[in-house]
């Protein structure tokens, strides 16, 4: 089985979010970046396990980004992906990113393409669906469990307040949510091997974005917490009713 795993990079969850003076760009000074948790813990780990189940399989990590992402890509290789491709462009928007990933995948005949549920920076949950549409493939989002037998996959996907079980034939695009796999830490052997695995850098195709971020702003700060004594729960309920107006 030929598997592609789309991996993005995002600011560490504890990173301080700030912008340039014009509020048009994210200020990355001093920000540590990590592999998007959904891509790492769920998509990649599940892909690697599936590859083991089907001997002769390969897992290719694909990333749209600049050279400063290489460390994150190497981590993917340390988690036992076979090789990696970096499309050398800034992933400005989901549409641009999906287009680049699609052009890479078009000629490769992957049997299975994984994305994460969403990136934790722009929280779009867009790229997987767009990629599937560019490639005219089925798309199953928010998979929390997946098994493959022959050329058919059975998948549990998260829906509002429950799960839906679906069946779909390879090839398709799937986005991985919590439950697909357990977080794994690369071992020493994996890290050593990763250093020599192929990481191809390819140029992007031309594509014009149709939307862009023109301004960032920080949410309005809370006006400050109002403390209520533990003995005065009637008062808390009264405040929620007449001041906050939520009950």
């Amino acid at each position: 089985m030929k598997i592609m795993v789309c991996v993005s990079k995002t600011p560490d969850t504890t990173a301080k979010i700030s912008f340039n003076a014009a509020n048009t760009e994210f200020n990355s000074a001093g920000v540590a970046y990590i592999m998007n948790p959904y891509d790492e813990w769920y998509a990649l780990v599940r892909a690697v396990d599936l590859a083991k189940q089907f001997p002769g399989s390969t897992v290719t990590v694909v990333h749209v980004g600049r050279a400063d992402s290489d460390q994150i890509i190497r981590k993917g290789l340390a988690l036992e992906a076979n090789d990696a491709v970096r499309i050398d462009a800034d992933p400005h928007t989901a549409l641009f990113t999906a287009k680049q990933l699609a052009e890479h995948a078009r000629s490769k005949n992957y049997d299975l393409i994984f994305t994460g549920k969403e990136t934790i920076d722009h929280n779009g949950s867009d790229v997987g669906a767009m990629l599937a549409e560019f490639l005219d493939l089925p798309f199953v989002s928010y998979a929390s469990k997946m098994t493959v037998a022959g050329t058919t996959a059975t998948i549990e996907r998260d829906i509002e307040g429950g799960v839906e079980v679906v069946e779909v034939k390879l090839p398709f695009v799937v986005s991985a949510a919590k439950g697909m796999a357990e977080q794994r830490i690369p071992n020493m052997m994996g890290i050593m091997k990763a250093k020599n695995k192929p990481l191809a850098v390819v140029p992007p195709v031309a594509f014009t974005d149709k939307a862009k971020v023109t301004r960032f702003e920080l949410p309005k700060a809370k006006s400050g917490v109002r403390m209520v004594s533990a003995d005065e729960m009637d008062e808390l309920v009264r405040l929620l009713h007449s001041e906050a107006k939520v009950i």
Binding site: T13, D126, A129, E133, S141, G161, E217, A230, D234, L240
Partner: protein, 335 residues
């Protein structure tokens, strides 16, 4: 400029610029998100000086009531190929409808299914897109839509520069609003391909509002100490009329099902009221709840970071405070 040309402009706008809202109808029924989406569509249409039209797929009970929320027309596509969800057949149905009706803005709900349609439709219609919008677009200096980014830690304003726009609306961003009256439903005859993803079964917990749609949420963390103590949380939730949620360690330990886990790696919610009990308020937890309108924090540690993100705080032992609060809610409801 003569009167006729501005009149003509108006007519042309009516013909070519129309807002189409795709309304989900799981099991043939509308949920709260459906009414929010039409309300939003009507507001977008008003801003663009045009009409808002709703689209439903499959068998739907009472689709005409979407008119009450501002749809001037409701279209329905009846096809055996839309009985269960498949992003490809649904995308084709909606895209064909959008083209047949000359829609220039297509709106969806940012739901589990909506999220896999938004991206596909954007590609199919060669559109500019913003998913998870949380406010009505502004038209000053371009078509601008805002959404929450960095797990709720910032807001981004996107400018869409394309004749066709696809937007998905984040739940609980704007309240549903009745402004009109029920309208007739017209059948729309467009081709829909057979689904390639086959739905085998669905399991949904009936009887309570799913977390992403809940307006009130009572949530608890490791401070509860033992799954056996969860009863006091449920009692409070029942008194408040809330859905229950939990922090990640609670779900990881198997005390509560995973679909109740909120935060960065769980469900992101934005209820009107979020009551957090025995939760420290780690940044990854806040990422999923900081868009709640009002946050109440109950924690025995006055230094718990959650108090910084709270509107109301109570310092105390949850085993004493929570039953008291439950009693207070009951008393309030009885009056």
């Amino acid at each position: 400029m003569c009167r006729t040309s501005s009149y003509l402009n108006d007519v042309l706008q009516k013909i070519y610029i129309m807002v189409l809202v795709y309304i989900e109808s799981p099991k043939g029924q509308f949920k709260k998100a459906a009414f929010e989406a039409v309300t939003y569509g009507a507001k977008v249409a008003a801003a663009l000086k045009t009409t808002c039209v709703a689209l439903t797929l499959g068998n739907v009970k009472d689709a005409g009531i979407l008119g009450e929320y501002g749809a001037s027309k409701v279209y329905n596509i009846a096809s055996s190929n839309v009985e269960t969800f498949d992003s490809q057949s649904f995308t084709t149905a909606i895209a064909n409808a959008a083209q047949a009706l000359n829609a220039s803005v297509v709106i969806l709900s940012h739901s589990a299914n909506g999220k896999s349609l938004t991206g596909r439709l954007a590609v199919r219609l060669n559109a500019g897109t913003v998913s998870g919008a949380n406010a009505v677009p502004t038209l000053n200096g371009g078509f601008k839509v805002q959404k929450s980014v960095f797990s709720g830690k910032a807001i981004a304003e996107y400018t869409i520069d394309a004749p066709i726009k696809v937007i998905s609306l984040m739940g609980n961003s704007i309240p549903a609003q009745k402004t009109g009256h029920s309208v007739a439903v017209s059948a729309l005859d467009v081709a829909v391909p057979a689904p390639r993803v086959k739905v085998i079964s669905t399991r949904t917990a009936d009887g309570h509002v799913p977390l992403p749609e809940a307006e009130k949420v009572v949530s608890a963390g490791r401070g509860v100490k033992d799954p056996q103590n969860w009863g006091i949380i449920e009692d409070l939730a029942a008194a408040v009329g809330a859905t229950t949620a939990c922090s990640r360690p609670v779900a990881d330990a198997g005390w509560r099902p995973h679909h109740e886990h909120v935060g960065q790696t769980g469900v992101a919610i934005r209820p009107n009221l979020y009551i957090a009990i025995g939760i420290s308020g780690a940044i990854q937890h806040l990422a999923g709840v900081n868009n709640s309108r009002v946050i109440v924090v109950i924690n025995k540690d006055p230094e718990a970071p959650f108090f910084k993100a709270a509107d109301y705080g109570v310092v105390g032992d949850l085993f004493e405070v929570v039953p008291r609060l439950t009693a207070a809610f009951k008393k309030f409801k009885a009056n």
